[in-house]
Amino acid sequence: MTEYIVLGIYLVGMIYIGIYWSKRSKDSESYLLGGRKIGAVLTALTLQTTSMSGYMFMGGPAQSYKDGYFTLWYAVGDGGGAIFNVGILGKRMRRLSYYMGCLSPVEYLERRYPGPATRAIAGVIAIIFVYGYVLAQFLSAGKTMSALLHIPLPIAIIIGAGVIVFYTFAGGYLAVAWTDFFQGIIMVVSMVVIFIMAMSQVGGLTGLNESLTQIDPTITGMWGRGNIYMGQWGVVAGAVLIYLVGYMGLPHVVIRHMAMESPRLAKQTLLIATVWNQLFIFVPYIIGLMGIVLLPDLNDPEMVVLTLAYKLLPSVLAAIVLVAIMSAIMSTADAQLMLMGTMLGRDIYQRYVNKDATDKQLMMVSRVCILVVGLLSIVIALINPPGVFSIVIFSFSSLGSAFLPSYVCAVWWKKANTTGCIASMILGCATATTWAAFDLASVTGFHQFFAGIIVSILAMIIGSQFGKPTPKDVSDLVDRAACKTKIPAGLATANYKQIAPETSGVLTFLKESDFMRETGFQPV
């Protein structure tokens, strides 16, 4: 009964947030991007909770329960994901998207790499794989609720996914960001509480590792239980890279940079997101390891976190862990659903159907698209046709491989052009998808993301040597986003004064002695 009450309060809270922000989303920019007024804490938490799905509560711990310490390679990459994502893209992407007036990450690519093919190809790839993700998250939400609350799957899907659709439809980006904020707090607190309680049961980290070594020494080794991954550095590189840099290629994640209130918030965002990561990412895998000691006869390893919660915590706290699992799923699903609405409204409707659409029309169409896509996804999840959900198995790798070089080069390499972007998107996506579909990782020893990203980067570099160069106006904006536009020397004096304060005295002397006026000398 406690679970129903706690989950009920949580779902009502999410609905309230949706209603609250629905009254405050006045125009398309506020509905689709939160009016670019999202602060550092909110950006950090929405960025990270969007990145982390229910996998962290179920799949991740289950993997470490089965494979031992080897699974922490994923955490090693994931833990540093925010440093790369915010550090490399944050500020510059925020500036460039603002200068180019973009509201969607696909539109951003089209304006940076001008040409009708850019938006068409980026749009098709993003819509297919993000939609696959949405479907999978809806089904996960339903299955989790059904398994944990012992209610029929169709009812669970309708309740779980229905709440996500409602608050995203009503409140737009602001509702998504604020629900992500609360969900992020619930997720990290739950995980840390279970971690502390379980750690006290196994005798601390040393006690845990000694117990694991007694069970099987290879569990605490580098290469997985039974050393099954011995020497597979390609798999390790893929496991680390996929989450270390992969988020920079996910459209529903990078759109968070575009919504930041100011580029200067990137540093706080990076710090907060990284600390949150260390609390949340390593812990689930270690809980999985503790499960080996505390729950040696567990039938379903995916239930290790929840089983430990019910074993070690009072029923109310255990119910909050259940809510945390739902939070992890919902925080990812809402961002993807929001992005679907943004792309369909901004990139399809306003681009191809009604070019003169007013701001209110765009907002209305985006809302309707979220509702339609959401309801359609619920229906498909209820039918659960075979094959559809296999898309998600390679969604992450395919999206990351398709878009990562294009997003990074957009702000760091102004010579990256449309040809390079198109080649990179098509070949990167095709490689990662083929690799996953034919399980080439097991044949070659290289993870699909590793293969996809190598091909994608090479395609960007080689492709950018051909075709039309980046137009001057775009190139100038890239310079401006990097604060590298050359400004006449007299106006830029403040720069070198700050870099070398001692020069200010020399400058003052030169100005006062009329040296500069008489000789025409200008400091550079």
Binding site: L72, G80, G207, T274, F282, L491, Q498
Partner: protein, 56 residues
């Protein structure tokens, strides 16, 4: 052994949380320094625009 793990395993897996936090703190200060420079640049850029510089 470190916390019951071979040193290579410990450093491969469990040294990262502390490493990442230290890197994030360093990044914070590096980015703050860049922010100050960029703020000056933006002021100069705006001044230039106001004086009829490049119109974007």
């Amino acid at each position: 052994m470190i916390f019951g793990l071979q040193p290579v395993v410990f450093f491969a897996f469990l040294s990262w949380p502390v490493t990442y936090i230290v890197v994030a703190v360093i990044m914070y200060f590096v980015m703050a320094k860049h922010d100050r420079k960029e703020e000056e640049w933006e002021k100069a850029y705006e001044k230039w625009q106001a004086q009829g510089g490049e119109s974007k």
